[in-house]
Amino acid sequence: MAEEEPVGRIRFMDRQRVNLDGFAVEDPGLGLVALRSPADPEPSLTISGGRVTELDGVAEADFDSIDAYIARHGLDLAAAPEAMSLPDAEFALRVISPGVPRAEIIRLSAGATPAKLARVLALLRPAELGLAMTKLRGRRTPSNQAHVTNRLDDPLLLAADSATAAAFGFREIETTVPVLADAPSNAVACLIGAAVAAQGVLIQCSVEEALELELGMRGLTSYAETISLYGTEQVFTDGDDTPWSKAFLTSAYASRGMKMRVSSGAGAEVLMAGAEGRSMLYLEARCVALARAIGAQGVQNGGIDGASVAASVPGGLRELMSENLMAMMRNLESCSGNDALMSESDMRRTSRTLPIVLAGSDFVFSGFGSIQRYDNMFGPSNFNAEDIDDFLAMQRDWGVDGGLRTVPAGRIAGLRREAALACRAVYRHLGLADFSDEHVDLAVDAAGSKDLGPTDTLAVVSAAHAIREGGLTVVDIVAALDETGYEDAAERIMDMTRARLSGDYLQTAAIFDESLRVLSLVTDPNDYAGPGSGYEPGPARQAEIDAIRQARGVADLRAEQAASATKGVLEPTGPAAPGQDPRDVVIGVSPAVGRDVWRSLSGLTVPEVLGELLAGLEEEGCTGRVVRFGDTVDLGRIGLAAARLAGSGIGIGLQGKGTALVHRRDLAPLANLELYSVAPSVTRELYRLLGGNAARHAKGGTPDPARNPYSDEAIEARYHTTVIALMALERAWVRPGAAAEELSREGLQ
């Protein structure tokens, strides 16, 4: 049977972008289930002689390697009896209660098995997840991480973009490569760029583990986060690791003074057809318990590469946020995902990220794409350069700290140039590569690598090879910056290299602030205990959040209006007298017209609008006068007063912002004959039509009613702030009892 073509309403809905997304039927057998699967074990823990002999339904003899590692190292056996016997709902209540201190939740969670924590978290509703995250993250001050990459691995663009990311406030910068051999060059370029813009930015170059560790050992990078854990033994082994190899790698990073977090998250096992029928939350609970057991300080989770897998099933976003919370409950840093584009729909991807922005996390994104989508070599992030202004506005709307700030355009330009020049100088000085002045100019101005034109990508490979084979270290980069005249950047990198030696930044959730102070669970512990407690941005930080570059005040608008003022036009000619001619129509204007207000919201000047109205009147055989009323800003009153002065009894009211109506002397103030309420959309032709219609009313003829132009754009969002400022300018000229004055028609066309 042929399927019937859906009706237009459905065809229209089908065309919306959200329908490009895949939505899966829940299927526990495949692991396509978010919070709870029939195959998830009942939480259980048996301790015998100080040793775990059963964990979540599995006896010791049957422990797989993940169970075995967690059983031996991951649980606090002293807290376990209490934690495991606590009813799930009671545990969950304590998690969200501001009166139960974070430390108490940390203590209990350390004694809870993976299945137990999964059960507890599955009880939390979305708003409760948010509250719990606000309370349980380790670091008091939220922060954010950026992706800085491009299709060409172009060093000058990487340096400029790294400086830009640092200027926007990102405290970690993660780069990666489309061409593995380029990795050392990317690390160096990002290091230089960040140091030009700000102190204390941590740098990561995400590549295969041996090379990543090598870059860290040379001091070119300062953290790592792509050390993957999986929730089933099979997938773990397929990933060519075991819990013991990962534990060793974790120590290897720390032994070279590098901060490190592991990476896990829903969907990885499902994509490998290895979920063994378990829910995503339970498998992630195993990963997070293992992360704690191997001694990692933090976890990057919340889906990560599998975020869209979680998002394809019912309750998937709850699962993603629960993963982050699980890391916090295990007393680990949370780097909270949001780093993979989880939907083609702007609303769905915002819905995925917003709750975490509002709650605040150690890192709200484990990679906000600070570059354009097409340049993001991790694949597009959930937010990218396209969305930075949106994000800054969201921070401001909700009054929360998402870690970013507005940067003046001139400062961005200056930093990009300095970063590109410093990078070129270092590459030239060390004999790595040479770049032309034109290349520098292009990199400074580029919004993305497509703006660079053709580049020499072989030069990048060769530079990277030279860095690696020459054994260049952070000390060489510092020396090169210093010798080529970039002493400040050299000093910054040296200061940070020194600061890293204390190891303070190896503690949980550590970042450096811009004064090179370590903020971590140790130095900046989260002390949320209900309203009025916990993190609030200080006054300086709040001002950064509030002062987005698009904000406008009355002073800005006054200056813009003054720029449109025309001398000798709309000059007062004397008190306005009642007209006698039955063809006399009065155009009443608001108090600031011809004084502080000169341009209406449509972009037409007020003289242009008046010119059209007068022309419309004249075409229909009437004459118009322009009269300014000084005692009200109300358009109905202005229009009525104009009508009462007019010999015809018909008046046009016009506010400087462009709103216009036709009034008649016998109507109530709020009644009118015709009204253009959407001032930004009114055209010259419509004003002329309004003039013509006023004349027809005056003659007792039949007007051709004008329709308000309709727009589906957010006209009010766009213009309301301007309207408020314009009305403030109008209000400032109001004088109670002021006499109406006639204005010259000179120059109105």
Binding site: S65, A68, Y69, R72, H73, G74, A103, R107, A110, A210, L213, E214, M217, R218, G219, T237, D240, D241, T242, W244, S245, A247, F248, T250, S251, A252, Y253, A254, S255, R256, G257, R292, A293, I294, G295, A296, N331, T473, V474, V475, V478, A479, D482, E487, A490, E491, M494, T497, R498, R500, L501, S502, G503, D504, L506, Q507, T508, V518, L521, V522
Partner: protein, 125 residues
Amino acid sequence: MTLSGEPEVRGLSGRPVRELTLEAVRHGEVSVPDVRIHPGALEAQAVVAEQHANPQLAENLRRAAELTALGDDEVLAIYDALRPGRSTPAELTGLAASLAGRGLPRCAALLTEAAEVYARRGLTR
């Protein structure tokens, strides 16, 4: 004073950080061992981690302190030996004994435990 209460931070070479200035770099007087973390700093951080309810992080930092004694290549070689299917149980226990003998008891214990579990779970060569 550092957060961990150490009177003075030193690089792996033993040089105090206050000597690691840009001026010293200019004179070619800073080398990689000067800017690598010292086991003492890692041990001090382990104490801090314990005080902040994370004994596992403390253990990791203590293993790391041991690993500062090994060269990069050897560290990577041990990591590789621990990956699935790379070593026999005897190779792992042999490596563990060698590390224990060289003053890396915690790393040795990790390898010993791995040998036992790998044998049971089929993760050996």
